[in-house]
């Protein structure tokens, strides 16, 4: 690691201007995490036009702040209202809300904030140490590796992300197709432009993202919003006691590690990490029956893990240039707008940006800790703001924002078009996330694949005989076939075993009862085989929204 560059990065972050953007970013993140409606990916999408008017480092610092700030904010509604603001806070609901009912909402929020801070900070240290190393390895990647990696990234998002895998893959493939609209960079031929001048240069990523995520979610929320206003529980004494801290210190430590490791995986890193961390604590606990009835570890573990995961999901973006989730895809797009190609060369070519962003996260998390312990009352009050009042404001930001990119009314209509598509996709059960992600990676996949074919002299087997790209493609095949294999496996095991199915079938038991199902001696391990790739099954079956757009869909129907 280049220590000088690292320190220069810090110098950059503590410039008042960048500190201010960092604060604005985490503040917006907290607020949208608390408020129903927009998720972090949609918010970043809507604010993308701002990258045209402020300096690159500040812009990325701010947009990144929105993403990890949202993880903190999501906790508040989980604990107080039993409404997870983010998908990765769903498990927090079990013990967080139970604590709130016992009048210990403050304890839950305090522990969650401390866990979030520790998890994120440990993860940033990991990011600081690991990112340059990974980037260094990735420097050896050639076009075949990039083609394979980008494809693998798209596939993983579709597999691990929320929703049906087949649908996600269809959406992703359409995203790849959308990326081909415009002039072909190799031959100059126009593709899918339908003789429109506006389409000749291709479709602007910002327009697609603002449409599918921003407008799509705004329209969807208009429809969902017909509930009663929520009155949050009173929050008193956010400072956790020594006993609470001692009780959850182990959970926070383990959650950090689990979160960091799982967060690197493309797809629902934060969501999965929170599930696994909660499960790990419950398993370790001598008194698992407390879980679901107000165990502080049950709040500490998932909240630590989801923040650690949110942080480590920056690694693939900053080191190999593959976004791990929808929010990272937005940052990827923002970097492209700024004329910076995210990838292994980033650390050498733009050390200011690389270290500026990473180091801003140390400071951003300190800010978030302050916002979520002494100032938590402020955000609890925000919960009383009616979504109806915010809706037209976000709508105007979106519409005026997209216009400012090219001063083009055509862009407004294109965005509305994508917005309607995004809305309809949500209604039909298609997640727009993979489409946007594939769109952003589309030209990289195509140009890398075509360059590779030139290298291989037209022989596609070259992809498989090159050791690096070959291994990546091997993983690709495994990931692609795994759900099919598991489907048949499960079918078979469901026929053979009847009793051990309790764990799966009995989904209506309260969280406090789940310990019972596990007492059957673990003979139902077949339900979820013990390999890392099995993580694919979690998001898929649970259908938890991944940590990107749309996490408010099913559980924020205010």
């Amino acid at each position: 690691m280049d220590l000088n560059a690292f320190l220069d990065g810090f110098a950059l972050v503590v410039e008042p201007k960048n500190l201010l953007y960092c604060l604005i970013g985490v503040l917006i993140g907290m607020v949208i995490g608390v408020l129903p409606g927009l998720g972090p990916a949609a918010t970043i999408a809507i604010l993308l036009p701002i990258t045209y008017s402020i300096n690159p480092v500040s812009a990325i610092i701010m947009l990144a702040g929105i993403y990890y700030g949202a993880q903190y904010g999501g906790t508040i509604t989980s604990v107080l209202l039993r409404l997870p603001g983010e998908a990765s806070s769903v498990v927090t609901v079990f013990d967080g809300f139970a604590l709130a009912k016992q009048g210990k909402a403050g304890t839950a929020l305090g522990i969650a904030a401390i866990g979030s801070f520790v998890g994120a900070t440990i993860s940033i240290i990991g990011l600081t140490l690991l990112a340059p190393v990974v980037a260094d390895i990735a420097l050896d990647f050639g076009p075949p590796e990039y083609a394979a990696l980008a494809l693998l990234g798209v596939l993983l998002i579709a597999t691990i992300g929320n929703g049906n895998m087949l649908k996600s893959l269809v959406a992703a493939a359409i995203g790849l197709l959308l990326a081909t609209v415009g002039r072909d960079s190799f031959s100059g031929a126009s593709r899918f432009t339908f003789d429109s001048l506006q389409l000749a240069d291709g479709i602007d990523f910002v327009v697609v993202a603002m449409g599918l995520f921003g407008v799509g979610e705004i329209l969807y929320n208009l429809e969902q919003r017909h509930g009663k206003p929520h009155v949050p529980a009173k929050v008193a004494n956010v400072w956790p006691s020594r006993k609470d801290l001692r009780q959850s210190s182990g959970a926070i430590g383990r959650g950090s590690v689990i979160g960091f490791v799982l967060g690197v995986l493309p797809g629902g890193g934060a969501v999965l990490a929170s599930l696994v961390a909660y499960a790990a604590e419950k398993r370790r606990s001598k008194t698992p029956e407390r879980f679901g009835r107000g165990a502080v570890e049950g709040v500490a573990a998932p909240e630590t893990a989801n923040n650690a995961a949110a942080t480590s999901s920056f690694i693939p973006l900053l080191t190999i240039g593959i976004p791990a989730n929808a929010s990272m895809a937005m940052l990827f797009g923002a970097l492209l707008i700024l004329g910076i190609a995210p990838g292994p060369q980033l650390v050498d070519e733009h050390p200011d940006l690389f270290w500026g962003v990473i180091n801003s996260m140390y400071i951003g998390n300190v800010l978030l800790l302050i916002l979520s312990i002494p100032l938590v009352g402020l955000f609890v009050r925000i919960l009383r703001v009616r979504p109806a009042i915010l809706a037209p404001i976000t709508a105007l930001i979106t519409i005026l924002g997209v216009y400012t990119i090219n001063n083009s009314v055509f862009d407004i209509f294109l965005m509305i078009g994508f917005g309607i598509v995004g809305y309809l996709m949500k209604k039909a059960g298609f997640d727009p996330g993979p489409m946007v992600l594939a769109f952003v990676l589309g030209s990289l996949v195509e140009s890398s694949a075509r360059r590779s074919m030139l290298i291989f002299g037209g022989d596609p087997t070259g992809f498989f005989t090159r050791p690096l790209s070959g291994s990546i493609l091997a993983i690709f095949v495994v990931v692609a076939l795994l759900p099919v294999v598991r489907h048949f496996w499960r079918r078979k095991s469901a026929r053979v075993e009847t009793a051990p199915g309790v764990a799966e079938v009995d989904s209506h038991s309260g969280p406090g009862d789940v310990g019972v199902a596990g007492d059957d001696g673990g003979s139902d391990v077949v339900v979820l085989p013990a390999d890392t790739l099995d993580v694919a099954g979690v998001g898929e079956r649970v259908r938890v929204a991944k940590s990107g757009a749309g996490q408010h869909d099913h559980h924020r129907t205010e």
Binding site: A173, S187, R191, F192, I218, L275, I412, V514, T557
Partner: protein, 171 residues
């Protein structure tokens, strides 16, 4: 007990948690339409891409990559058509879907009006429609918030960010 039992239980718990708040599912017709749309896009794009020239693997034409992607879309859509009928992840259109439709229409109206009248009038109108008719706010709130929002945006965009939005009122 193994860790994976607990993971599976928690998953089921989470699924149950989310289930409570979900709107009614759309049913097989929604699934079929969804898959058919994918199929139409795939077939249409494949035909167009073929027209752009596929070339050879050694010298790919501009149409080869989109053609490959289109074929993938077609295959996946057909699969979805076959196995996806029973999925329950779609949402029925209900009376409140009209709210989304009205929202989309105001977006379009804004886009049509802005070049003609500047952004102030459409902004106030959009706010009024969204607050009063889509959001059910009181008239007093509606007027105050609409005007205030527009004024803030006026100064934010024109003076704060110095972005030349088409505007009516020159200060």
């Amino acid at each position: 007990m193994s860790q994976h039992d607990i993971l599976a239980e928690i998953e089921a718990e989470v699924a149950h948690e989310l289930e409570d708040e979900r709107p009614p599912a759309g049913g097989p017709a929604y699934q079929t339409v969804g898959a058919l749309v994918g199929l139409v896009i795939g077939v249409g794009a494949a035909i167009l891409a073929y027209g752009y020239g596929l070339g050879t693997l050694r010298q790919p034409g501009p149409g080869l990559w989109p053609f490959v992607v289109s074929v993938v879309i077609v295959v996946l859509s057909v699969l979805l058509l076959v196995v996806g009928r029973g999925l329950d992840d779609s949402e029925k259109f209900t009376r409140s879907s009209a709210l989304a439709a009205v929202g989309a229409i105001t977006f379009v109206a804004f886009g049509l009006l802005m070049p003609l009248t500047g952004f102030e009038i459409p902004a106030v109108l959009l706010c009024i429609v969204w607050l009063r008719f889509l959001g059910g706010e009181s008239w007093r709130n509606t007027v105050v918030i609409s005007v205030l929002t527009t004024v803030v945006f006026y100064f934010l965009f024109l003076y704060g960010l110095r972005i030349p939005l088409p505007h009516l009122i020159a200060l």
